[in-house]
Amino acid sequence: MNTYTYPKSRELFARAAKVIPGGVYGHLGPAEGCFMPIDAYPLFSSRSSGPYFWDVDGNRFIDYMCAYGPNVLGYNDPDVDAAVMEQFKDGNCVSFPSPKLVELGELMVDTVDMADWAFFAKNGGDATSFSLMIARAATGRKKVVLTRGGYHGVAPWTQKAGHPGVTPEDVANNLYVEFGDYEALERLFAEQRGQIACFMSTPYHHPVFEDSRLPPDGYWKKVRELCTREGVVLAIDDVRCGFRLDVRGSDAHYGFEADLECFCKALANGWNISAVCGKDWLRDAAGSVMYTGSYWLSAAPIAAALTCVGKMREMDVAKVCADKGRKLTDGLVAASRRHGFDLRISGEPAMWFMRQSDDPDFVLHQAWVAECVRRGVFFTNHHNLFINAALSDDDIAFTLEVADEAFAQVAKADPREAGKRR
């Protein structure tokens, strides 16, 4: 199997570096993306279709990052993109919203189990910040409880004290518990009684660098009861999981009902829109918070979301992605064992996390992922991966072939270490 090289990506990065801080910043960039070693990775894409993207050197990749989640139906989904193009003919960013705003609100309320209303913005971080403001407006309290290692965007309140640009005051109202530790949450609520506005959490724990953790049995039911009893708004950050686990919302997937639920990523298959859905009792509070943006009611992404949500419901996208995820991850584990390695899978099948066992410093995993990327399968090292509905059985078979060869390459490159694992 040929391995890829990336001369044009490198040339473009050198140009980017002159005019853009860091060349490519954020999670799509080489630093935050943990591209190790850097020479195994492309840096720019030229086009995409279905489960693939092609880099600027013409190399094709099966993309298991799915743009970090938005690609749920397949890149350039013909139905979603046709709806967008049609809307462009009528207008996009105008002084008044299009009727499609109302249609999408109705569709969200009809689709998401907990939703009595829906509010739209652009990014996941808009939705989580808005949810916190709603909770504060509704309760008159300041504090928010978060889970350690949880990710809710990049607004200052979501970051860590001591990080560049973050003041102690930005995070002064944050309290932290371990995900899944109900007793700790109950203790914290008792200690801070009357001060906590909101408990915000992802539906299951999907941090970077660590195994994903599913909620323990009965956890969410007890948390729901606790929040109700203590007058704390239960906000689920479903930005990453939303629709991939269940089109009714991930709270429905785990058998409970959130007060607020944040969506983005899969909502419009890559078109820029996010949403907060809420319960009736928070409707007035939501309306009272001044929160808006120049493009938040633009019609084209709304048209995309209307079509995307409709398609996800129709095909039961969560089941499709879960089935494909199981097939793929079973095959990856089998490939690892053939070469004396032990690939560990955690989280939900549609957005699994993987690492090698007996590899506490990630050296082996980074080497294997790099060999996969060089052969056209785009994984990242330490973030959960994503399945999209366009992924075919042939794509899975190709991925497993690549994984097998990559394991063989890693074993060959370090036979002493590989031998230890046999």
Binding site: R10, F13, A14, A17, P21, G22, G23, V24, Y25, G29, P30, A31, C34, M36, P37, I38, D39, L43, K160, A161, G162, H163, P164, T167, V208, F209, P360, D361, F362, V363, Q366, N381, H382
Partner: protein
Amino acid sequence: MRMVDPTTTARVNLFAVLRTLEGLPAVDAEARAIAADRRETIQFVVGGVGRARLTIGDGAIAFSPGGGASTITLWFPKPEALNAMFAGTGNPIPLKGLTKIGYLKGPFTKLTDRLGHYLRPSPELLADEGYRKANAELSLHTAFYALAEIGNSDPDGRLNAGRMADGGILVAVEGGPSLSVVAKGGRLETRKGEAPENRARMSFSGVEEAGQLLRGELSSYLAIGTGKLSLGGYTPSIDHMNKILGLVPRYLS
């Protein structure tokens, strides 16, 4: 945002800047000549910070943290007094070696001037390849010695050091020096060379690239994207350490 605090500044001056004198004879002829002359051990006693000694002689300069035998002892009642000496606005109080004031004002001051020469580059000086290399190597040591002090003392530094898992990070320069930053229980220690605790690595492709990054001519994100700085292993610790590295210029500028 928080500015520098005097105790951390004094720790950086005492345990990072003075320690870097160890590397001076290897790159500077004047320093070699001074170190080849008479042997003296200067002890620095800084209230609220601690003690350290510099032994100059036999062609070398050796730094040792903590107190002990000395031929000259300098007392600084509080961190600000040490910082004033480094800023050139204050003098130490000699407790021992009163007859050796001449050594302090002569050879020792010359050594610190030579270190300052290499740590404060100008475009003219950087035009010389030998200077660039010396600047890079000495700056690397100062920066990573300082990093441990900042991680153990500065409020933001302590927050980030506390997030680092136990274990070390190798900071290596291809064809050049290497250091290890070892974390244990949220406290940091910088050692020369490889440490058995190392779990991650941060490698510069060369001395030139290390110098560019330390002088602020090259951003770390750009260095990573171009392969001038490569990372590997247990990267969460590198991420936390880099937050502390970002504080270093505040204390060394």
